[in-house]
C-alpha cells in the first residue's frame, strides 16, 4: 500500500515537473539561441525565476526517475514510507526518532543565536568574531599541526601494512563501483571551494602575495606563489581532514559493528556502545552543529555567487528576495535528491556534476592559455611538493594573513569533516583502507588541484597580460570575490557558454554536498539503529536551508566565517583523538598485513627471474 501510494505521489510530482522543465527549458534555450529577441522581452528578475525553475524541475525530475536495477521493493523503502497517517503520528514518530539533545539542543542553540543577532546584532557579532579570532590565533597553529599530522597519517595508512585491512566481513563486496565511489566522495566533499574559490583564490594571492612567498604584488614572481598556495589550501592537506575521520568510522562500523555515526571514533575508548555514552552523544551533537555550520557557510557563499552571475549576465540586482529564492530552490532540490535515495537523486546529480566538471575543465584547456598553464602548473606543482612541509609549519609574520587564510580554510574543512567522514565511511563497505585513503585523499585532491591550476592559472593569465582586469572589477564590486568567475569566463572565447555551464556547476556542486549532509545529519541526529524517515530528512534539509538563509540575512559574510571556524574547531581536536585511538586499535588487532612497500619488494625477484630466463633462452 504505502509503496503504491508513494509511487503515485512521485508520479504526480514528476508529471508536474515535466511541463515546468520543458517551459523553462524552452525559455533558457531561446535566450541562448536568440539573445537579441528574448533579451528585450524578458527582464532580469524573470531570468532568476526561470533559471531557478529550470534547475529545480530538471534536477528534481532526474531524482524522481525510478531506479532500473532491481525490483520495486528495493527502492529505498525506509525513506519513502509516507503513509496516509495523521500529522500527529508523523510528529510523534519524528520525535521518537530523535534524541532530545540531537534535536532540541541544536534547534534551540541556533534559534538563540539568531534571536541574539536580531535583537542585539552588534554585541553578538562582536562576541562571535572575538571567539572565532581567538580560536584562529590561539588554536590556529595547533590546527595546522593536526592537518600536517593527518597528511602523514594518511600516508602511513596508504603505504603501510594497514592499508590492506578490509572494511567489512570477508563476504562484503563493494556495492558501489569504483567510478561512482570516487564521484560520490568528490562531489560530496567539495562544493563552494570549486566554484567560488577555484577562479578566485590564486588571483587574491597574486594581488596580495602571502608573506611566505614574499613577492611584489601583481608581479610575475607572485604568480607561482599564488598557484602554489592555492594547491596547498585545496590539496592533500585539506582532503586528509575527511579521511582521518572517515577511515576509523568505517572500520568500527563495518568491522566492529558500531552504529554509523561520528561517535564511532570513540569505540576504542568507550567500547562498542560509545554512541550511548555522554561523550558519544556530545560528539554526535557537535557533528550536527559542525555540519549545519559548514554547509550554511557554503550555501551562503554559492548563493552570493549565483546571484552575482545572474546580475553579471543580465544586469539585475535582486535585493533580499534573490538569496531567499535561491536558497529555497536549492533546498527543494537537495531535499528531493536526498529523499529519493542515494542511488537515485544523489547518484544522478553527482554523475551530472562530474560530467559537467570534466567538460568544463576540457573546454578551459581547449580555449585557455595552454603554454602558460602548462609552464606555470609544472612550476607550482614542483614548489608545492618541495615547499609542502615549510608551508605546513609556517605560522606567519604577525600580520594575521595565515590565520585569515590558511587556518580559516583548515577549520572550514574540519567543519565539513564529520558529515564527509561519515559519508565516506558509509559507502566504503568492502573496500580496503588503502583504497579509501587513495580515493578520498589522493584522487579527490588530484581533481581539485587540477581544477585550481586550470581556473586559477587562466585568471592569473588574464589579469597579468591585461586581457581582463578582474581585480579592478572586484574592487568596483566592493571587494566581492563572487564575481571573479564570471569576469574571467566572459573574457574567454565562448564566454557565454562558459557562464551558462558555470551557473549549472554552482547549483549541482552545492546540491550534491548539501544532499549528502542532509542524509548524514538525519542519521547522526536520530537515535542509533533508526533509519531516518522522510519527515526526518525534510526537517534537517529544511533546517540547513533556514540556517543558511537567516545567517546570511542577519549576520552577513563575517558571521558565516566565524560560524564555520567555531563549529569546525572541535573536530580538529577530535580528529587527533580519532587518529590516536584508531592507531591503537590497528596496533592491537590488525597485525600481519603487508605494506605496499613490502609487496613491491616481494614482487621484484620474480621480474629478475623472468629477465634471467629470457637471457638463457637467447
Amino acid at each position: 500500500m504505502s509503496t503504491q501510494h508513494t509511487h503515485s505521489l512521485e508520479a504526480t510530482v514528476a508529471s508536474l515537473l515535466i511541463p515546468l522543465f520543458l517551459l523553462s527549458g524552452i525559455a533558457v534555450l531561446s535566450a541562448f539561441f536568440f539573445p537579441t529577441f528574448v533579451g528585450e522581452a524578458v527582464t532580469g528578475r524573470a531570468w532568476l525565476a526561470i533559471a531557478l525553475i529550470f534547475f529545480i524541475s530538471g534536477l528534481g525530475y532526474l531524482s524522481l526517475l525510478p531506479y532500473a536495477d532491481g525490483d520495486d521493493d528495493s527502492e529505498s523503502p525506509v525513506l519513502l514510507t509516507i503513509r496516509r497517517e495523521r500529522l500527529r503520528t508523523a510528529t510523534t514518530s519524528f520525535l521518537a526518532h530523535h534524541r532530545p539533545e540531537g534535536l532540541i539542543l541544536v534547534v534551540v542553540v541556533f534559534l538563540v543565536y539568531l534571536l541574539a543577532q536580531l535583537i542585539i546584532p552588534a554585541p553578538t557579532t562582536r562576541a562571535v568574531s572575538a571567539a572565532a579570532d581567538t580560536v584562529l590565533s590561539v588554536g590556529g597553529p595547533v590546527v595546522a599541526g593536526i592537518i600536517l599530522l593527518a597528511v602523514l597519517y594518511c600516508l602511513l595508512l596508504l603505504l603501510g601494512p594497514w592499508g590492506a585491512v578490509t572494511l567489512g566481513g570477508p563476504e562484503d563486496e563493494p556495492a558501489y563501483t569504483y567510478p561512482i565511489y570516487v564521484t560520490l566522495i568528490f562531489t560530496a566533499g567539495i562544493a563552494a571551494g570549486i566554484v567560488f574559490w577555484g577562479p578566485a583564490e590564486a588571483l587574491f594571492h597574486y594581488s596580495a602575495p602571502p608573506p611566505a612567498i614574499g613577492a611584489a604584488p601583481e608581479s610575475a614572481g607572485a604568480i607561482d606563489g599564488a598557484l602554489t598556495y592555492s594547491l596547498f589550501h585545496w590539496g592533500i592537506s585539506a582532503w586528509s581532514a575527511y579521511a582521518v575521520l572517515g577511515v576509523p568510522i568505517a572500520y568500527y562500523v563495518f568491522v566492529r559493528d558500531a552504529p554509523l555515526r561520528v561517535s564511532a571514533i570513540l569505540v576504542p575508548i568507550f567500547g562498542a556502545a560509545a554512541a550511548d555514552t555522554p561523550w558519544g552523544r556530545l560528539v554526535d551533537t557537535l557533528a550536527v552543529f559542525a555540519t549545519i555550520g559548514g554547509i550554511a557557510t557554503s550555501i551562503a557563499l554559492v548563493s552570493e555567487q549565483f546571484l552575482a552571475g545572474i546580475s553579471f549576465q543580465w544586469g539585475v540586482t535582486t535585493g533580499a528576495i534573490g538569496p531567499a529564492l535561491f536558497i529555497l530552490a536549492l533546498t527543494l532540490i537537495y531535499v528531493l535528491s536526498c529523499i529519493t535515495g542515494i542511488h537515485r537523486g544523489i547518484r544522478r546529480i553527482a554523475v551530472l556534476t562530474v560530467v559537467l566538471f570534466v567538460a568544463f575543465g576540457l573546454l578551459v584547456v581547449a580555449v585557455g592559455p595552454r603554454p602558460f598553464l602548462i609552464e606555470r602548473s609544472a612550476g607550482a606543482i614542483g614548489s608545492y611538493l618541495a615547499g609542502f612541509v615549510p608551508l605546513s609549519v609556517y605560522t606567519g609574520d604577525g600580520s594575521g594573513w595565515v590565520a585569515a587564510w590558511t587556518y580559516w580554510n583548515w577549520l572550514w574543512w574540519f567543519s565539513w569533516a564529520p558529515f564527509a567522514g561519515v559519508f565516506i565511511a558509509a559507502i566504503s563497505r568492502g573496500r580496503t583502507i588503502r583504497t579509501v585513503v587513495f580515493t578520498s585523499v589522493i584522487a579527490t585532491a588530484g581533481a581539485t588541484m587540477v581544477w585550481f591550476l586550470l581556473l586559477g592559472g587562466t585568471s592569473l593569465h588574464a589579469q597579468h597580460t591585461g586581457r581582463a582586469d578582474i581585480l579592478g572589477a572586484v574592487n568596483d564590486a566592493g571587494g566581492s570575490e563572487a564575481i571573479v568567475g564570471f569576469q574571467l569566463l566572459s573574457s574567454l572565447p565562448l564566454g557565454e557558454l562558459f557562464i551558462f555551464l558555470f551557473l549549472g556547476l554552482i547549483i549541482v556542486f552545492m546540491v550534491t554536498s548539501a544532499g549528502v549532509s542532509t542524509l548524514v545529519t538525519s542519521i547522526i541526529a536520530t537515535r542509533p539503529g533508526v533509519a531516518p524517515s522522510t519527515v526526518d530528512i525534510v526537517f534537517w534539509g529544511g533546517f540547513q536551508g533556514i540556517v543558511a538563509l537567516s545567517v546570511l540575512f542577519v549576520g552577513g559574510a563575517e558571521t558565516l566565517q566565524s560560524i564555520a571556524v567555531l563549529t569546525g574547531g572541535p573536530f580538529a581536536l577530535l580528529a587527533l583523538v580519532a587518529m590516536a585511538a584508531f592507531l591503537w586499535t590497528l596496533w592491537k588487532s590488525e597485525r600481519g598485513h603487508t605494506s605496499i612497500v613490502r609487496q613491491a619488494y616481494d614482487a621484484l625477484p620474480k621480474i629478475q627471474l623472468h629477465h634471467d630466463f629470457d637471457n638463457e633462452e637467447r
Partner: protein, 431 residues
C-alpha cells in the same frame, strides 16, 4: 515488505545500500535503441533551433576550422541547420520505426551536420555539436536494433523510379538543349527549371524558345506531374489508411512490430481490470479480446487492444508473443482459455503463460494444456473471506495459490510475472 536488517544497529544500511550494485551510469538505461532515437530527435530540434538562430543574424560568423576548406561556407551555415532539421525529422520518424534505411541515412547525415558547428563555432553551436557526438556511438552500438526493411509495393517502387527517372531525363535534356532556352546556362539552372516545371509552379524566367524545346518541356510536364502525383499518392496513401484503421480501435501493424518485453492479456474476464492496474505501470500491455464493446472501452482508457480472436495463432503472432515477457490468459470461459493456451504454445513453446481458472476443477487442466502457473481467483477470495470472518488473517504465500506446472519448477530463470505480484499485494492489503 523489506527484509529487516540483521540488527537494529544496521538500519543505516537500508539507506546506503538500497541496491546490490550502484554504478556510475546504468548503461542499459541510456544505451538502448530508444535513447538513440531520442538523441537523434534532440539533434533534430537543436539543428532547427541553431539554424534558425543563424538565419536571424545579419552576418553569419564563420570562425571555425572547417570554414576555410568548405566552399560556400556562409550559405551552408545560414541555411544548413534548418534544412538538415527537416531531413533529420524524417530520419527520426524512420528510426523510431526501427527502419534500416533511416539508420543508414542517419549515419551519413550526422557527420555532414557536424560540419555546421565546425564552420561557425559559436557558443550556441555547442549543444548541437555535443548532441551529434553523443548520438553517433549510440547509433552505431544499436545497429542491430534498426532492422526493419522498408517494404514498398511494386506500384510504389515504380512510382519512385519514374519520378527519379523524369527528374534525370528533364535535367539532362534541358541542359543539352540549353541553347534553345532563354536564360538556361548551367546544370543548376537545369535542375531549377525541372523542379519548377514538375511542381507546376512555372515562374517563366526560363522559357523554351524553339518547337523542339517546347515539346521537350511538355513531355516533362506530362510525365513529371504524373509521376509526382502517383508517387505522392502511393507513398502517403497507405500511411493515411493505417491511421484510419488505428482510429477504429486496432493497433497498427507498425505499432505492433515495436512491442517487446510486453505482457499479452488474452480474453477479458472478471479479474482483467485489476490485472491491468497492476501490470500497466511496469510493462506495456496488449489485450486481445473478440468483444468489440470491451475493446472500445479499453481503447478509451488508452490500453492497447487487438479486437481479434485470442485462439487464433496468426493474431498471437501479430501480438509479438515471442518477444513478450509473459502471457496472461484470463477470459471468462475456461474452455476458450484452454484453446488460447494451446494456441500460444503452438506459436511459442517457451513464453511464460499464466492462467486464471474460473472454476477450481479446471485448474489442473489449464496447467495440463501448457500454462506455467494457474491461479484460481475465487479460491483466494474465499480463503481470505474465511480468515477474515474468524479474525485471523494469515499471510497467503504465492505458493499456496499457484499451481505451478513442472516446466516452471525446472526453469528457475523464468521472470516473475504479474499474477504473483498480484497475490503479494493481496497479502499486503491486510496491513
Amino acid at each position: 515488505m523489506v527484509d529487516s536488517p540483521d540488527s537494529p544497529e544496521r538500519a543505516f544500511e537500508d539507506v546506503f545500500y538500497p541496491a546490490d550494485r550502484v554504478s556510475f551510469i546504468d548503461w542499459r538505461e541510456i544505451s538502448g535503441a530508444k535513447p538513440a532515437v531520442a538523441v537523434v530527435g534532440i539533434v533534430t530540434i537543436l539543428s532547427f533551433v541553431t539554424g534558425l538562430s543563424n538565419l536571424s543574424q545579419l552576418t553569419v560568423p564563420t570562425d571555425g576550422p572547417v570554414a576555410a576548406i568548405l566552399p560556400a561556407a556562409e550559405i551552408f551555415v545560414r541555411f544548413g541547420g534548418v534544412l538538415f532539421a527537416f531531413l533529420l525529422g524524417i530520419i527520426t520518424v524512420g528510426l523510431s520505426r526501427r527502419k534500416r534505411l533511416a539508420w543508414r541515412a542517419a549515419v551519413v547525415t550526422l557527420p555532414l551536420l557536424l560540419l555546421l558547428p565546425l564552420v561557425s563555432l559559436q557558443p550556441r553551436d555547442f549543444p548541437l555539436m555535443l548532441a551529434i557526438i553523443a548520438s553517433y556511438p549510440l547509433l552505431l552500438a544499436n545497429r542491430d536494433s534498426f532492422d526493419q526493411r522498408i517494404e514498398l509495393s511494386p506500384l510504389q517502387i515504380a512510382a519512385l523510379f519514374s519520378f527519379v527517372g523524369v527528374g534525370i531525363y528533364g535535367t539532362v535534356g534541358s541542359y543539352g538543349l540549353r541553347d534553345q532556352f532563354l536564360e538556361l546556362e548551367t546544370w543548376g539552372d537545369a535542375v531549377y527549371y525541372v523542379i519548377v516545371t514538375i511542381a507546376t509552379v512555372g515562374y517563366g524566367d526560363i522559357t523554351p524558345l524553339t518547337p523542339e524545346a517546347q515539346l521537350f518541356s511538355l513531355s516533362i510536364i506530362l510525365l513529371g506531374t504524373g509521376a509526382f502525383t502517383v508517387a505522392v499518392g502511393t507513398l502517403i496513401g497507405p500511411a493515411i489508411e493505417s491511421r484510419m484503421a488505428a482510429a477504429f480501435g486496432n493497433m497498427t501493424a507498425s505499432e505492433l512490430t515495436l512491442l517487446e518485453d510486453h505482457v499479452v492479456v488474452l480474453g477479458y474476464g472478471d479479474v482483467t481490470e485489476s490485472l491491468l492496474e497492476e501490470v500497466a505501470p511496469d510493462a506495456d500491455v496488449v489485450v486481445v479480446t473478440p468483444d468489440a464493446a470491451t475493446a472500445s472501452d479499453l481503447k478509451d482508457e488508452e490500453v492497447n487492444v487487438l479486437t481479434e480472436d485470442p485462439t487464433d495463432e496468426s493474431v498471437l503472432e501479430d501480438a509479438q508473443i515471442s518477444d513478450a515477457r509473459g502471457v496472461v490468459v484470463s477470459g471468462p470461459d475456461d474452455g476458450r482459455d484452454a484453446l488460447a493456451i494451446i494456441a500460444v504454445r503452438n506459436v511459442d513453446p517457451d513464453v511464460r503463460i499464466v492462467a486464471a481458472a474460473n472454476e477450481a476443477k479446471h485448474t489442473k487442466k489449464l496447467a495440463g494444456v501448457g500454462a506455467d502457473a494457474v491461479i484460481n481467483p475465487r479460491a483466494i477470495g474465499g480463503r481470505l473471506l474465511g480468515q477474515s470472518v474468524l479474525g485471523d488473517l494469515k499471510s497467503i504465500t504465492a505458493a499456496d495459490l499457484v499451481v505451478e506446472s513442472d516446466a516452471v519448477v525446472s526453469n528457475p530463470d523464468s521472470p516473475d510475472t504479474p499474477p504473483e505480484a498480484n497475490t503479494q499485494t493481496d497479502s499486503d492489503d491486510r496491513q
